[in-house]
């Protein structure tokens, strides 16, 4: 690499950024976001505590009664809810991508990035990559707690496939939160708006309870709710059972969300004044 030449050399440079350039820029920005975590370890608290708190809450507070209704008791409910939690984690942690982005804009550092000759996508890809690292960390914590409360991993390949699928889905939903992060004025509104997206999808789903007892209109919603689909697919992969419907619905959502939201996010990022 020969970038230490006089400025005039830059003038003749090609306008297009080669793939290696994109990777280098994304890598440098990933490093930046990882340094943030090292500088401010408290920012990992949510990824550490959320899986612990939610697992304990659902298994010990609701687990007994829902488990009884399902017929498997608390132990049966553990097997049911843990794959759902993987889906939940992917969604909840994805949200952080929007708030972090909004803070960058308000601090002025984004102005510097946008005045540099880098691909506009690099900044977004770096943010997504680091959030996925956080998500995988949370998922690891979740699995440790799960085993401690009695979860039985029936299929390790299934577990990895489930985590992989939730990563794919998370990286697609992150484009939605990134768009909110670019468009909305501050981190608070990004968070508030994020919860409006989050809550109906999380609770109107098969994550915490089977949908069979829900009214018909709600079932119609949950059947195509990507989080239900992801939870069902994860369940099937980890403990055996039907996988196909959940898998295809999740993948369809992932592809659809990315295809629509990624260009919007990048465009909004590029043209933000």
């Amino acid at each position: 690499m020969s970038a230490t030449t006089a400025p005039a050399a830059g003038i003749e440079a090609d306008a297009r950024i080669p793939l290696r350039g994109h990777l280098r820029h994304t890598g440098a920005l990933v490093r930046r976001n990882l340094l943030w975590i090292r500088q401010d370890p408290e920012s990992m608290f949510d990824a550490l505590l959320m899986p612990i708190v939610f697992t304990l809450l659902f298994v010990y507070v609701f687990g007994g009664s829902i488990g009884q209704a399902l017929g498997g008791g608390q132990d049966g409910y553990v097997q049911y809810v843990i794959p759902g939690m993987i889906a939940m984690m992917s969604m909840t942690l994805s949200q952080g991508v929007g708030t972090g982005f909004s803070q960058d804009f308000n601090s002025g550092v984004m102005d510097r990035f946008r005045s540099l000759p880098i691909g506009r996508g690099s900044v977004l890809f770096a943010k997504i990559s680091v959030e996925i690292v956080r998500m995988l960390f949370a998922t690891t914590v979740l699995m440790i707690v799960s085993v401690l409360v009695g979860f039985d991993v029936e299929s390790w390949p299934g577990l990895f496939a489930a985590v992989g699928l939730s990563t794919v889905f998370a990286s697609s939903i992150m484009w939605v939160f990134l768009t909110l992060g670019v468009v909305l004025k501050n981190a608070q509104s990004v968070q508030a708006m994020g919860f409006l997206v989050l809550f109906p999808l999380q609770f109107g789903s098969s994550i915490f309870a089977p949908t069979a007892s829900m009214p018909g209109w709600l079932q119609a919603f949950t059947d195509y709710n990507p989080l239900s689909a992801l939870a069902d697919a994860a369940r099937g992969l980890m403990s055996g059972g039907p996988v196909a419907h959940g898998l295809w619905v999740t993948l369809a959502w992932s592809v659809g969300l990315t295809a629509v939201m990624a260009p919007i996010a990048i465009h909004k990022f590029r043209t933000k004044s």
Binding site: M1, A3, T4, A6, P7, A8, G10, I11, A13, A15, R16, I17, G21, R24, H25, G27, A28, L29, R31, R32, L35, W36, Q39, D40, S107, G108, V109, D111, R112, F113, R114, S115, L116, P117, I118, T271, S273
Partner: protein, 341 residues
């Protein structure tokens, strides 16, 4: 992509702006701005808050698209060739645009990598610039622990990593105490010594005088004057005559009489109601005598009369009819007492 042949690299003009317009809804941030910055010079863009200075810098650094008109930097069009353009500019924004959570060194290393330096070169450049901007001792501390002056120096260092051709400094010393401000001025002068072309926006007349060789005065999105600082001073008169009538009620009548003299080369007479006086820029001893003669011939009793060398503040006042900081369109020139300076 082809470069625009009106301004190839090496030509005398590093920044060319023609008829630049940018509206925010009803507000005209830029209303047809023309500007040329010659290679290797420092252009000061002087104006009050809301004059459009930041909008101009944001357009020139490709952060904002203009509504109409065009602008080139080292020959690259801001709209059509943003990527090439970004390679030749450095930007220091109005608010320190460093990553506060990262240590100083990491901030510079990050920018180096984003500018395609190899790891080794990025490391060396970060060390070199920290040294140069006297930040070596603070290299490993997060920028959030830096003082205002250190942050601004880090910001300047960050904008120098790519050895820019043209540097945009948007109010580089706003919010700094006088000692720190002098420090930043010193750094900017050193950068200029390295041959960088600088476009600097400021609200401080003193700053423009310190750093810029040429000045463009903007107000409400328009250029109201431009030229070498010395030329601008001459344009509004070598001196200003301050005439204070004993009876403040005669202030405007007095100003009218002086205007009626119709002296050639005389810039606008300004009524300074705040201080109960009329400020008359005069070019020569003859004009000065003519003004004094006209006033005494009318039999007005004067409380005081004095000559002043015009500050850039007064330059602005003469050119715009209001003081720097006045942004209310409806405000006539002679009711400035409501306006803060």
């Amino acid at each position: 992509m082809t470069r625009i042949d009106t301004n190839p690299a090496g030509a005398t003009s590093a920044v060319t702006v023609r008829g630049l317009v940018k509206h925010y809804g009803e507000t005209k941030a830029l209303d047809g701005v023309d500007l040329d910055v010659r290679e290797g010079t420092v252009m000061g863009v002087l104006g009050p808050n809301g004059a459009g200075k930041t909008t101009l810098v944001r357009i020139l650094s490709t952060l904002l698209a203009p509504d109409s008109g065009h602008a080139t930097v080292v020959g690259y069009d801001v709209v059509r060739q943003p990527r090439q353009l970004r390679r030749v500019i450095g930007l220091t924004g109005q608010y320190a645009s460093v990553d506060e959570k990262l240590p100083g060194w990491e901030n510079l290393y990050l920018i180096g990598r984003l500018l395609d330096l190899s790891r080794k070169d990025a490391r060396a450049r970060a060390d070199e610039l920290l040294e140069r901007f006297s930040l070596t001792d603070a290299a490993r501390r997060p920028a959030s622990t830096y003082s205002g002056g250190m942050r601004r120096r880090l910001d300047l260092a960050a904008s120098m990593i790519g050895r820019p051709h043209v540097l945009f400094l948007d109010e580089p010393t706003t919010g700094l105490d006088p000692r720190t401000r002098n420090e930043v001025w010193g750094e900017v002068k050193r950068m200029v010594g390295d041959g960088v072309t600088v476009l600097l926006t400021t609200q401080y007349m003193e700053e423009a005088e310190q750093l810029a060789s040429e000045l463009t005065v903007v107000d409400r999105g328009r250029v109201i004057a431009n030229g070498a600082i010395e030329e601008l001073k001459a344009k509004v008169g070598g001196r200003a005559l301050r005439v204070r009538p004993a009876d403040p009620a005669q202030l405007r009548t007095l100003a009218g009489w002086i205007d009626d003299l119709g002296l050639t080369g005389l810039a606008t007479t300004v009524v300074d109601a705040e201080r109960g006086s009329v400020l008359v820029p005069v070019l020569s001893d003859e004009q000065l005598t003519a003004v004094v003669g006209a006033v005494t011939a009318r039999g007005v009793t004067l409380a005081s009369i004095s000559t002043e060398l015009p500050s850039l503040d007064e330059v602005f006042l003469s050119l715009t009819g209001h003081r720097a900081g006045a942004v209310d369109d409806a405000e006539p020139a002679d009711t400035r007492e409501k306006v803060s300076v």
